[in-house]
């Protein structure tokens, strides 16, 4: 879309954002600033046209799995029944801050996206789920506009698996945000057995922009396999910085934008606790699915955790694995029994136990839990642990001899 099509709002033209600041382009979180920057909601055009526009845009989900958003909408629309839209702002991953930042900085874009999708798909209900710290800013935003009264706001707990889509549905339905078994997709049968569309809040904010400014504008930035911008959370020590960058930006550039010096980085955990450790060349890889694939990683929910030089990746992995084992909802046998055993073995690796069979045990245990749970928590945990065994292969051998090259201690 070009300037010619610029929206006209209150007498002055709205120009679509041109740089990489899109989601975070408004001056402040108030509705007035939102309207001044992005203009009013676009008119209705029908579900088919919306789905086609999102397909042309190539928008993929920002909740972690990167599933094409248009496909999810098409599946929900296909059922022909009036369904439920849920904005997922649970952000269960403790490293991530991008969803909470978005909800504080640009709550109206998320509300726009939620209202637009609900209206276009003829949904009977629209829900927004988030943790306690975001409730006040969202309520404030909802009060600033007349059309958000129908949105139902829910508070969820700060648990890792609480943000998984079926856990979100469970939380709304029964007040317990733990995953549940679903043989059919939620888009066919979810909340109250109705077709249910669970979308990450960042995904909804992008939808609000695509439906305003068009697919071509969306694709005008980013790479062909990862068009548009993404929110990244760069984590160094206790600090977290949220960065909006074009899809396919080099990992090192995102790190720099987040305040981390790539030269002092030993490894990066890409994609958060369910992600993959990358080292060396990967630091200059493009942050897109294709760019990261050779390193066994994917952008996921945009989390980049820096391991500085001088810190032991295996010890850090052991700490994370212990956390993930604790965060199992404890309802699926292989997850409830397997993750603690993985954490135990990983803990021994981290403590430089001289048992040389530990890596083999870890490979067996991770294979055993993968795919055997009601949610992908075991799979994500297994992936992260395996990536550590590969990325820190050198240290692994040193640890088996009771040495650690990195940490002097």
């Amino acid at each position: 879309m070009t300037m010619v099509d610029a929206h006209v709002q209150g007498g002055h033209a709205i120009t679509p954002p041109t740089g990489t600041a899109r989601l975070l382009a408004a001056d402040d979180p108030a509705h007035a600033a939102h309207l001044a920057r992005f203009g009013a909601l676009p008119g209705r055009r029908g579900a088919d046209a919306v789905i086609a526009e999102l397909e042309r845009a190539g928008l993929a989900g920002r909740g972690g799995a990167a599933f094409p958003t248009w496909r999810k909408l098409a599946a929900a629309a296909q059922s022909g029944r009036s369904g439920v839209i849920i904005a997922n702002g649970s952000e269960g991953e403790p490293l991530s801050a991008k969803d909470s930042t978005l909800l504080h900085r640009s709550p109206h874009l998320v509300l726009d996206g939620l209202l637009l999708v609900a209206a276009e798909l003829g949904a009977a209900e629209a829900h927004l789920v988030t943790t306690s710290a975001q409730l006040a800013p969202i309520r404030r935003a909802m009060d600033q506009r007349a059309d958000a009264g129908g949105i139902r706001l829910h508070e969820t707990h700060d648990r890792f698996v609480a943000g998984e889509a079926s856990a979100v549905v469970n939380g709304i339905e029964r007040g317990r945000a733990i995953p549940r078994d679903h043989v059919v997709r939620l888009t066919a049968s979810g909340l109250g057995r109705r077709p249910t569309l669970v979308l990450n809040v960042e995904t909804l904010a992008h939808i609000a922009l695509v439906l305003r400014f068009g697919a071509d504008w969306f694709r005008s930035i980013g790479s062909s396999d990862d068009p548009g911008t993404r929110l990244f959370t760069v984590v160094r020590g206790g600090e977290r910085a949220v960065v909006e960058a074009a899809g396919g930006t080099l990992l090192s550039a995102v790190l720099r934008a987040g305040g981390a010096d790539p030269a002092r980085v030993r490894a990066v955990l890409v994609g958060g606790f369910h992600g993959a450790w990358v080292t060396g060349d990967a630091i200059d890889a493009p942050m897109s699915p294709a760019g990261l694939a050779p390193f066994g990683a994917s952008p996921g929910a945009g989390i980049l955790m820096v391991l500085p030089r001088g810190e032991c990746g295996l010890a850090r992995t052991a700490q994370i694995t212990a956390y993930l084992a604790e965060q199992s909802a404890g309802q699926c046998g292989p997850c409830a029994n397997g993750l603690p055993e993985i954490a135990e073995a990983m803990g021994r690796v981290g403590r430089r136990d001289r048992n040389s069979s530990l890596p083999r045990q870890l490979r067996e245990l991770t294979a055993l839990v993968t795919g055997r749970g009601a949610c992908h928590h075991p799979d994500g945990t297994a992936r992260m642990v395996l990536s550590a065994l590969d990325a820190f292969d050198h240290d692994l051998r040193a640890h088996a001899r009771g040495l650690c090259q990195e940490a002097a201690a």
Partner: protein, 74 residues
Amino acid sequence: MSTPTRSGKVLHIDWTRCDARGSCTELLPELLRSDPWGYPLPAGGGSDVAIPAHLAAAARDAVGLCPVLALRLS
């Protein structure tokens, strides 16, 4: 050796219900082993098992005899 004909049925394990009672592993030893904790382990991993035609009856028994209704055939 030809591959056994598929029955078109898939056995799904609901891990949130399964309590490692092990009767399915006894009824379908060809398809399910027992993992170190007693939970059913499909040959190819995962939560879903394609049922060959000659085991369709055993799979139905497994569904009917799971004491906690953790199995589904679809």
